[in-house]
Symmetry: C2
Subunit: 441 residues, 2 copies
């Protein structure tokens, strides 16, 4: 075998004569989305064996096609906007501009520049009998992407899936259907010009809501569902899916200021964790502070945040220190504000902080600020969250900040990918066992 | 932080004052299994933070308790046998002897001797802004083990879960209830003597079949379900579970003899892959052989196997070479015989072999025998199975043979663990982000 820690990929373009036969019977003979998934399954057998260069060429060609199609994409987007009766925030997410189309194209080129996630040798060892065993990264298969109004999500998701050797079935929001179709056409142009099957990126034929339900139950046809959108969408997907799901329903993140914290660091981190961008899932919703330092530090932190326009929901102990803070209810501590609102609770040490997080957290991201290494380790071992930070802002929970490049989402489940999901997290693995004729005694 | 590539584990024994509050509401207030799972969730917060030495001490003490309780275990087993009306094969799996109890105890000691899978640093890197990011192995949480008549599965599963810092909820077959209870008592004795909570290993109160359904829907209470038993049990679990499942419904494994295979090696491997133990999931069910060599090699292989008592189901091309072979139907190629029966199909090269596997395989284990490296790589890249072997017997698909020590099962899904599931595969991970006060620009 070759030694560069890479499993060679052949440009095999032969596909199964029986593309759908590798699908469990119960998954067959369903509606239009199942039919599309069948086609994607056939295409992925070619894509999964395509060379890294071919997949990157596809992304560069798709970026060029997006730029070329800018007028058509903007016209399609204008139709969507004309038909939409949604509120301004929603319309802003739906709106495409020449700058936003260019950003989509550049995003595809940045994905192309990432290292190939397929074929990485994750582990390798040799058994006493001489068998060499390697764990090698492989594409997942067919990914179902369910998203709402942002049309760029379709291009980002398609780019990440192509890079990682996966086929993707896109189901965007009904309000963005025309925009999504125009973007999809550019992605298929990229596949064509690189000689890869167009069916590697497919899109729902219309805005029929039944398509979502069909995708969620397409076990054996779709290998993974990734929802991107509001909490109600994600929770519906998690509730109804019979297919593995990577998602996060909410990011109720905590920052705990331990008694051994550096005050200046604590003030800097809390201000950033809450106010840098209050609306992202990695923003801190609840501040936990040790009682031993609260009377000295809490007033400063409240002043820092209030100056930036933050409001507060505080427990009794916090209000005893800063009397004009509004009172927090249990429900407040369970609320992901995604806004310039901070819950505050005073605790008596790391165990009380861990109990609060166990009671109200969403397994997303938690942080401790302390100069005491043992307390930091105890905190990190005590949370079940996907990401735990020591002396850093929870707003660092992001694929780009982790060095993954673009991310397709954030996962809070316990398996496969947790935290930011980039191209490496869109691969699974196989064991390759390489012998010289060994038989088992 | 410490440098030994190990995340320190604190002996924290404080548990949440609100143990069940970290569970989604929809999972709460259910029946007896949910109540047990609530207790297991409380216990796992202590177990997950216990030291490696404490968990190993538990396993040694449980082994001693098993030996001490041998008379009681055999008496309970005699009650189960007296009440059972099952066939001989089933009774043999159900039967315990002093030797089998000793083997269970030794098994626990062997698990204790494995390296600690918890706290392994799986990856570690530093960002340009100085943030250190580490991926650290952590316990999964609460594991639901659903198994049939073999009482030893309860001891093995409990041992593997304790070693990996997980709590386990056991639901054994109704026929083995008394045996399972006696074994469970010994496991709890081990937990007690090491100062860990008894609730880390719990068992269904009785043989009520509703307990299984309750476990399968205990989302938020049970993190992972592992079924061990016949295909019908596993398929029911996969169909009904609303909780992640690690399992394999069948092992329909293929061995493909490529035209560039060494004949002596091919004969040795096929004989072992089929006949060493025809009843295990890693045994080869279907032989695929290139037409170019079939007339020279197939008669020898058929003779080798027939001499050991194997029978055959062959396609027309194979029967044209060895006329007295019985004809195979499509259904035969889709059948996991788990017996001394071999399907035979003659194919025209690697792509036809891959098409056959895509059509009939179960994503478990496939093998190619060839001296041609490019064909081997093409075959390995072309199968979606969890394990693919080159010049080795499919019977090597086993946790012990992989070097994992004991295995709790084999997984054929696409995520988390694939292939043999040992203690490392019973862990998940978290990201630890270690800063010096960084905030996000």
């Amino acid at each position: 075998m070759n030694a560069e820690g890479e499993s060679k990929l052949q440009g095999v373009t032969t596909a199964s004569a029986n593309p759908v036969q590798d699908v469990p019977a119960q998954a067959q003979g369903q509606g239009p989305m199942a039919a599309l998934a069948h086609r994607a399954r056939l295409a992925v057998r070619t894509l999964a064996q395509s060379s890294s260069a071919t997949r990157d060429k596809t992304l560069w060609a798709a970026a060029a096609a997006l730029r070329e199609a800018t007028p058509a994409i903007l016209e399609a987007n204008a139709q969507d906007l004309a038909a939409s009766t949604a509120n301004d925030a929603f319309r802003d997410r739906l709106t495409l501009t020449p700058e936003r189309v260019e950003a989509m194209a550049r995003g595809l080129e940045e994905i192309a520049d990432l290292p190939d996630p397929v074929g990485r040798v994750l582990e390798e060892w040799t058994r006493p009998n001489g068998l060499r065993i390697r764990r090698v990264a492989t594409p997942v298969g067919v990914i179902g992407m369910i998203y709402e109004s942002r049309p760029n999500v379709g291009a980002d998701a398609a780019g990440l899936c192509i890079k990682s050797g996966n086929a993707v079935l896109l189901r965007g929001g009904s309000e963005s259907l025309n925009s999504a179709r125009a973007i999809h056409a550019a992605m298929q142009a990229g596949l064509r010009s690189a000689g890869l099957p167009e069916d590697a990126v497919l899109i729902a034929p219309d805005a029929n809501r039944a398509h979502v339900a069909e995708m969620l139950t397409a076990s054996g046809l779709i290998d993974l569902i990734i929802p991107r959108g509001g909490r109600s969408l994600v929770e519906r997907v998690q509730r109804e899916a019979r297919v593995p799901v990577l998602a996060h329903a909410e990011g109720l993140c905590h920052t705990y200021i331990h008694s051994a914290a550096d005050f200046a660091m604590a003030r800097r981190i809390v201000l950033n964790a809450k106010m840098r961008r209050p609306g992202i899932c990695g923003s801190t919703e609840t501040l936990l502070m040790d009682a031993a330092i609260a009377s000295a530090l809490l007033p400063q932190i409240v002043a820092d945040l209030a100056e930036k326009g933050c409001t507060f929901k505080a427990d009794a102990a916090a209000r005893a220190i800063v009397p004009d803070l509004p009172a927090a209810t249990q429900k407040d501590f369970a609320t992901e504000w995604l806004d310039a609102v901070l819950n505050i609770a005073v605790v008596d040490g790391v165990d009380e902080a861990l109990d609060h997080i166990a009671q109200y957290g969403s397994s997303h991201t938690e942080a401790i600020v302390t100069a005491d290494e043992n307390m930091a380790i105890r905190f990190m071992n005590g949370v079940s969250s996907a990401v735990v930070m020591w002396n850093a802002s929870t707003q660092f929970c992001d694929g780009g900040e982790f060095g993954f490049g673009a991310e397709i989402g954030i996962a809070t489940g316990r398996f496969h990918a947790r935290g930011p999901v980039g191209v490496e997290q869109l691969t699974t693995f196989r064991y390759e066992v390489i012998g010289t004729g060994q038989v088992r005694p």
